[in-house]
């Protein structure tokens, strides 16, 4: 078996006496789309926080390309190539599209002014446009502020930002929430393109048809434990729902 791209082994997370995650192990290969589903309180968001570096696990190990890692902050995970798109918190609405795409990764004008922190705004405007286009997003003007965009366009920018910066793994937490059918379809297309580029995509969603449509494998969490981990082809809507709710015990 080849080394997985990203892996957690025997991870648990306790909040006081509450066990949010209990001995969870999963891995993702390059170019694989992994669906992560489960009911509210199943431990999805805890797992996302551990994968993205926001929280450390109480027990267990994290491996990136076979190397054991421990993240002290989401920033460390970012730098290592693991990007996360959080639910509803991705963008600064008053800032322009390009300022958002380059937030925390600004480019500077050459020379002494750049050393003083002056930004290469034109270059970032052009590059932001190019980066978003590369992952399949056309935004009218990258100098427009996010607040002038529609909900769908905003989400596209947020995803485009994450996908264009991710070098290894991208974690998308409910990226199709609040989107219309056409816009959700475009988000799924972006995910397929990221997969084609060899990224590992972890797709967390409540919208089961989207999960069934875009993923290669599905992991189902229930009450902090993994209750199913199987190729998507082994699921249909009914079986997936049954596994999530516990009406079908697939183990």
């Amino acid at each position: 078996m080849t080394t997985p791209l990203y892996e957690v082994r025997n991870v648990s997370k306790h909040y006081g006496s509450v066990v949010a995650l209990d001995d969870v192990s999963l891995s993702i290969a390059p170019g694989e789309v992994l669906g992560l589903v489960g009911d509210n309180g199943a431990g999805k968001s805890t797992l996302v926080k551990i994968l993205s570096g926001a929280h450390s696990p109480t027990h267990g190990q994290i491996f990136l390309e076979g190397e054991e890692r421990s993240w002290n902050s989401p920033h460390e995970a970012l730098e290592a190539g693991v990007e996360t798109l959080y639910q509803d918190s991705g963008l600064a609405p008053h800032l322009s599209v390009s300022a958002n795409v380059f937030l925390g990764r600004e480019e500077y004008v050459p020379g002494i002014l750049g050393k003083l922190g002056f930004l290469a705004q034109k270059k970032m405007d052009l590059d932001a446009h190019a980066n978003l286009e590369r992952v399949g997003i056309a935004v009218p003007q990258s100098s427009r502020s996010i607040s002038q965009l529609s909900g769908g366009q905003r989400q596209a920018v947020a995803i485009g930002r994450a996908v264009s910066w991710a070098s290894k793994v991208i974690i998308l937490d409910e990226p199709t929430n609040h989107l219309g059918a056409r816009q959700a379809g475009e988000v799924l297309a972006i995910i397929r393109r990221a997969k084609a580029q060899g990224l590992g995509v972890i797709f967390i969603s409540h919208t089961l048809p989207h999960v069934l449509e875009v993923t290669d494998r599905i992991v189902v969490l229930r009450l902090g434990k993994i209750v199913a981990n199987a190729p998507t082809s082994e699921f249909d809507a009914e079986k997936l729902l049954g596994t999530i709710t516990g009406l079908i015990d697939s183990k």
């Binding site: 600064a92 609405p93 008053h94 937030l103 925390g104 922190g117 427009r144 366009q153 596209a156």
Partner: protein, 335 residues
Amino acid sequence: MVHNSGDHVNSIKARAKSALGNQQVLLLIVLTVMILGFSLKSPDFFARPVFANILSDWYPLILIAIGETFVIISGGIDLSVGATVGFSGVVSAIAMEHLTTAHYGPDVTLFIGFLVAVGIGLIVGILNTLMITKAGVVPFIATLVTLGAGEGLSVVFTGGAPIGGGPSNAINLSVANIFGLFSRPGLLIILLVIVLGLYLHKARFGRYTFAIGSNPFAARAAGINVNRHLAKVYILSAVLSSFAGYYFYLRLSVGAPTTGNGAELQAIAAVVIGGVALSGGQGNFLGTVLGASIISVVASGLLFINVPANWKQVVVAALIFVAVFLQELRTRVRK
């Protein structure tokens, strides 16, 4: 997500709207009309010494208003700027009085006095930062604490009386001897204003300030050290206030405990008139510059047309209302 012709039309409409509703353009018109009005009513108004005097009111106001601009754009507020002006001026004056009594030269004394003032600014800024980022006190309360402590200590340290007895050449420095319009410290302040304006709109420092005010979660997720940046913003505000405190010393040759009382409200007024949203993430440096200019011009102009000086507050109040009302209108139109 997709190009379509509707977007193009919308963008043209949006541009037309933003040009019509551009706060800076409106403020520039208001400022020009005010200067014209005062000059027509009283021909003495349009004279170099008058503008030199307006500028000398403007220097300390713009210093604290700029600090306030950064703070408010970051989503906070700094109520302690006025108290810091007074307290840094007083402590600096006490130090300079002692140094002069000990026969130190005036230049050395002025220089050390400056360092003392800035030191006080740093201390206030660090205290605000610690309360806000470490103790989790909201900025309004944290800076209310330093406001009270600063104003109180200024009176305690001086017994309520102005402190003089410093170097005799201090007041020469605040004379408007450049084209009869600018003092030397004044020119330095103008230079500083330009640099800070560029830092707000063209550099990473300003970008992060806007980002944190707009969405602190997004800023944090993007790897920005939010607390460290906020520390810089509050320290900047306090240090600019201490510059203003030292400037008042140069202008008056004394450090008075009441200097700067209420200046925080003037600074906030300048910022709000300038179109900075108190909710953070939004604002324009030029707006603050124009807002502070309007307040300074009104203060002098009313005297020239024989209106009692206290009307200034009423005029400023009306300007604040109009500015906020227009802002509200603009957001409603946009929606």
